[in-house]
Each structure stands twice: as C-alpha cells, then as structure tokens.
Amino acid sequence: SQTIHQWPATLVQPVGSPLSLECTVEGTSNPNLYWYRQAAGRGLQLLFYSVGIGQISSEVPQNLSASRPQDRQFILSSKKLLLSDSGFYLCAWRITGPNTQYFGPGTRLTVL
C-alpha cells in the first residue's frame, strides 16, 4: 500500500531564515505531487504541483519554491521566510487514472 511522509511535523523559524520541507511517497511510481498551504480561516491553497521529476508548476507567486529531485520526493523551500508564510503545509499525491489525491500528515510552520 502507499504511504506519504512529511517532515518535520512542526517547525518554528525566525523571519528571514531559510526553509526546507520534505515529502516522500512510498509504494507507487511516477505520482503527481502537490503542495498545499492551509492558513487560518483561508482554507487550502494549492502552491505547487509536479507531474514528473524536475517538472514544477506554480499556482501562486510568492517567495516559496518547490523541487522534485527524485520520482517520489517533493521539497518545498524558501530563501527568506516571511511572517505570512506561517501555516499548515500539506503534501499530496495522485496516480494517473483514479482522480483522487491523498494527503500527508502535514507540517505546522510558525514564523516569528
């Protein structure tokens, strides 16, 4: 069966510091991968998605970036965090065919 991991689970970072969040999927090949952010009172916002290694599409312009160095690894990064980057970051995966996304456990990021 497939599983999805995210780490760290929680993170407290100062404004202006860098960020790296990691997501890995097990038990499947060539998944579509997604990063979402959930901010208080704003629902879920799609940040990036990837249909393959090295292929990244951005949905919202911001100071975040994403990379997919391996088939089942998806990384969310920032060079300098802003206060507004605080939130709950969720990674999701989907395989071609069944049109359903499955979510990881999330990372709670607090920028101070």
């Binding site: 629902g43 879920l44 799609l46 709950f88 999701a92 049109n99 359903t100 456990p105 999330g106």
Partner: protein
C-alpha cells in the same frame, strides 16, 4: 476556473442527531467532487468522491453525499453523528478534463458534536 462555497463555517449538533453540511460549486466544465475530513493537526482524509454514475455516493464512517447537477451542489449527510465526528470537513472539485487534477477547496465547515 472553479470555485467552491461551503455555506456554513460551523455546524453545532447533538450526538445522534442527523447533520447536513452544504457545498455548492461553480464551474464552466464538468467536475469531479470530493469530501475530505481533517482532525486537529492532521492531514486530510478522503471521505467520499463522485466521479460518475449514481449521484448518491456513500463514504466512510457512515457519511453520504448527493450530487445535484442542476443545483451545482454536493451536500454531505449523516443520519446520526457521534462525538468522534467532530472535525473540519472540506468540499473540493477538480476539472474532469485536466490530467494533473488540481483540487479547488472550499473554506471548510467545522462540525461540532456535543453530548
């Protein structure tokens, strides 16, 4: 572009009472429809989905939803709720025609079940 409206930000109910969480969507193309549940500080778990076929969809934990194309709605129902159903519920849509299937979510409805 699609949009999803969840009409209630919070729904308080008593245990064993029925509940309906409302979801309306707007789209210029055909869509797939989903309901997810999120427990505190956890990821989203798929409750049910409508892809095609019968408009009444049954999901996990006794939930069901009905797709109404004319009213562009996909309301979630449960005949008798438990305390453990307390969570946030998200309705989502995706474009049938897009292979990479991005989801557009509503802002969520917090279901509060009290004894």
């Amino acid at each position: 572009a699609q949009s999803v409206t969840q009409l209630d930000s919070q729904v308080p109910v008593f245990e064993e009472a029925p509940v309906e969480l409302r979801c309306n969507y707007s789209s210029s193309v055909s869509v797939y429809l989903f309901w997810y549940v999120q427990y505190p500080n956890q990821g989203l778990q798929l409750l049910l989905k409508y892809l095609s076929g019968s408009t009444l969809v049954k999901g996990i934990n006794g939930f069901e939803a009905e797709f109404n194309k004319s009213q562009t709605s996909f309301h979630l129902r449960k005949p008798s709720v438990h305390i453990s159903d307390t969570a946030e519920y998200f309705c989502a849509v995706s474009d049938r025609g897009k292979g990479y299937s991005t989801l557009t979510f509503g802002k969520g409805t917090m279901l509060l079940v009290s004894p």
